[in-house]
Amino acid sequence: MSGRRQPLDPHLVERLWRTPAPKPAYDVVVVGAGGHGLSTAYYLAKNHGITNVAVLERGWLGGGNMGRNTTVVRSNYLWDQSAAIYEFSLKLWESLEDELDFDVLLSQRGVVALAHSTHDVREIKRRVSANHANGIDAEWLEPAELKRFVPIINISPEVRYPVLGGSLQRRGGIARHDHVAWGYAHAADRMGVDIIQNCEVTDFLRDGDRITGVQTTRGPIAAGNVALAAAGHTSTLADRLGIRLPIQSHPLQALVSELIEPFLDTVIMSNTVHVYVSQADKGELVMGAGIDAFNSYAQRGSFLIIERMLAAAIELFPIFSQVRVLRTWAGIVDVCPDASPIIGPLPLGNLYVNTGWGTGGFKATPASGWVYAHTIATGQPHELNAPFQLDRFRSGALVDEHGAAGVAH
């Protein structure tokens, strides 16, 4: 193939990142080296020329939700505001391998959302139509069309919740989560960003109403701006400043199977029976469940949820019956009352927050970093994250995406 350079296979990269010691001060300190923290650092450097940046990570980079999600990429959200930021994100995904010169294994294999009731049909068709109105690709498939697209799916009307159709976003798909984290880390590191792992932020340094840095397990670090990107733990960090964020943290479980010869080349989600599934390039099925209802910061959920998810999966895909589950795990999702994120300044000087992505965090990684970097660099929200400010809970301008998320909150 001509024209396009082959992106770097991470296994062939000589050095992905340095292991720097923290400097006493940075222009920007990003708290959390997950996908959003890393992409924020990257776009601060790339788009705004701000390279004196540290990304502080209490564990290992990409080790939180970034390393635990089910890697689905799509932009078929319901409301205009959400559609705009997720579609911008999907466009960034589509050029991300060139942008980072790094192989993130993006596979635009299509994402299907199934309808199991007349209510589902109406809501999913609503989303398809809204997607069209926002210039986003979307199709409605009748059961027979679905069966042609996904031959292993069970469309029998005899099951408890028959498949009545579904939406398809062909540009949706999956990417390799680790490669995305490593790609952003590598690119940011090359531009001079310090990624400092095993460095936990324990408190903030402040001067009156202004944040001046952070206290860490490796000493104080001064910062022109501090940008939180700690997902489910953002609310506990903000608590230290007396800021109570409207965030609830829940376990969200996922699993992989053993490796099987490929038989599923698209992503299938069912909101009604709480399962979503894809088959990764190595051959394992990757599945996600509905969230555990209780609040928790422990990265484990109830086994009951796993059992129910698999009962649902077998109803949809009888061929899974003998496939064996290899590993289950949980991430902690941070959910706002309207199931949309908060990206913007907090009511203290030089402090910013990016949280509340719920189940949408992975697919938003590029756009989230882009607009968060813009907000930090300019002090003003980008037009894409302007609707996602904290004050919407006061004004009532909510962006309610409960119905459009992959799982019901």
């Binding site: 050095r15 209510h119 809501e123 005899e158 029976v273 009962a311 003998q322 496939v323 590993r327």
Partner: protein, 883 residues
Amino acid sequence: MSGWRLAHGGLIDRSRPVFFTFDGRRLAGFSGDTVASALLANGVDVVARSIKLGRPRGIVAAGTEEPNALIAVEPGLALRRATEVELVDGLAVRSVSGRAPAPAIDETPSEHVWHHADVVVVGAGAAGLTAAQDAVAAGGRVVLLEGGHAAGPLPDGLVDAADFVFLPRTVAVGRFDSNMIVAHERRRGTPGANTAARDRLWHIRARDVVLATGAVERPLVFADNDRPGIMLAGSVGVYLQRYGVAAGRRAVVFTANDSAYVVARDLQAAGVDVVAIVDTRVRPGPTADAGGIEVLSGHVVAGTTGDEGLASVLIVPRDGDADRASPTVVEADLLAVSGGWDPALRLLAHTGARLRYQPSAGTYGVTEVPPRVRITGLAADVNGGVGAFSTLDPVWLVPAPDGSLDRHFVDLQRDATAADIRRAVDAGMRSPEHVKRFTTIGTGNDQGRTSGTNELGVLAALLGTTLEQLGPTTFRTPLVPIPMRVLGGPYRGELFDPVRTTPIHGSHVAAGALFENVGQWKRAWAYPREGESFDDAVLRECRAVREGVGIMDVSTLGKIDVQGPDAGAFVDRVYTNRFSTLKVGSSRYGLMLRADGMVFDDGTATRLADDHFHLTTTTGGAAAVLDWLEEWLQTEWPDLRVRLTSVTDEWAGVAIAGPKSRELLARLAPNLDVSAEAFPFMTVRNEYLSELPARIFRISFSGELSYEVYVKSWYGRALWDAIAAAGADLDVTPYGTEAMHVLRAEKGYVIVGQETDGTVTAADLGLDWMLSKRKWFIGLGALDRPHLTRPDRRQLVGLLPDDPDLHVPEGSALLPSGGLGTAGNVTSSYRSAALGRTFALGLLAGGRARIGSRVDAQVAGWRVPLDIVEPVLWDPQNERRDG
């Protein structure tokens, strides 16, 4: 062809030969063999090709840690390990090279079982049996789990012990909070199993858990350490003792601890030529009894040769570079290795117990166990570095003569080598989690049992750090792979989720109804007659209600009994409109909001007595509404003297709707004065109806003259049949939810969940008249937020396409005059018999002010213009309803 069956010995039954096929080859073994032991006995060296490099691989281990010998069992092609599949006559298996073929569908359900015990012992080896005996002796309920098949008969004290359950072929897959053990009992496909037997998933709540889970031996990491014939020493011993199989004829033992010496002696005693014991230690431990076999202490195996199997091993002194050029070459077809042992403690890990490197034991272990957990036997000895396990001198990486690392296999199943770890380190990775993800070590279906610790050892060696600095990567449930159908359990097909049916369900079935799922309910959707389309049936049903009389099963509506001195005050707080002034015997339509001011549910409240209300909710909202009301009552208003009781299933209900409904009701309830004056709209009467005691509400969701009759649910069927019989000459017509939706939409009545989606206020629906200005209600405080009072909010309007036959799909976006984005959406859209045309309802930005103008809907990529009209298209003066 190196393995062979000893003339005697082992726990197999030599009187019962068993025939099976492996990749089509017909082979023989004995009852008591596993596929793996039989393959070894038949001299099969190569059992698979490796997943990436295609290298020949043989059997390495005897248990769940086996990385290479994956097989697919015919005919369903279930993926298993050869070390776990017991031999039965006619068994047919094929080798699998890392990735399994898609297995066949197995529709046999599995069983879920809950069990409770004082003590659960995991592992029925010697220590497990002892622990079980002790627990039984102490009294109480005891469960003993054994992942494999029984090693022999149970000891006397256990065979007939009361309150003792022994579960062979049952593997613990996880330990969860409060000592809940989840275990998979294999019953399908086990020898002698009834074909109807279902696998079981046990959920055992244990007061105490005893882990007699043993330990897993570690391989050593040296060049070409993956050849068939290179096996774990302990497993070589297992094949010898348990199956009477010698894994080779000429063996070398390579060890870093004392435990392999006994294997060497046993091999020698069985007639295997054990050439040497290569011991990494200069000074072997006190339990290292070589029994006359030559010991090369302070030496290592630096490489091997061979084609398909092992041909020779290259032995060099451990320290002393000069000698590397000329290793001692020893011909051998078996190399038994022991790099040390790891205690099998994964059951501790899910609930957060962290394993740490214990230098004295040379492994990752625990110094403290969680409460109500005990470790015993080999697991405890290895964890604590007791006896032979104190003698380890770990060697994590044996350098190759040429300095290469790319044939130093760390994870055989993933084909991952020390060179892969080196690449990760060079790339800047320091965390074992990164290295695991980069190399994929430990992610195979053997769950990294033989590779996890070695990965960390190699990593530490390459980083020049110690293992104390490197935590193990997190262990994940399940401990061994488990089929999805076993986790799904019996919940398949119609059992997948409860099906709720009304007492009248049988009548709908008999009438040929189509059903729709509404939550867990099955509701009659429409009643198409022979040769009639769904759409025509709906039109006919609608016409019957508008012109004659129809009946509908409304039993699914949620019903809440509210009683107590403060019932009026309570109902006032939960609905937006006022109820405390409602007269006894009257009903009122009510709206509930969430705390954020958005519409939550609707229904009617009827005052049965001063201190007694009967509330109805939407079908789908019943449980959520009761939860919501209880939450407010219990957490915010404990001072209110009110009791809430669900009576949803107590009452069956039938709506009788249409201009002829009064006549029909009069026939059924001759004692009831049904005149408009005596029984006005929104009132309730208690009366016998066809001899059934009934509550009759004059209420309407169709916009017609209408009644809802409720009886105790066990009379539901009788009520329906009585109404149908009494109205036969009036052509009384059953109508389903679809006709109901059309009728209410013609009338502009909203459905919560269809016209609303959690973002819609009462004012948006034109229901601001229902917001009391003289009292507080849930959600009131949110209503004056700036965004909720904007004039361009999406508001309910009626929508008419120019073409009276064009049906605009529900969900269609309403478009702004230009640019991207949406201005609203079509919430409901139907063909109307009464209006003689199609019509729709929708939510449109600033919609009320736009009535009389036009808006475009997006239909299949086209802009379809619609007239914006009032949402009430039928009987706006309510003359039919109230007459």
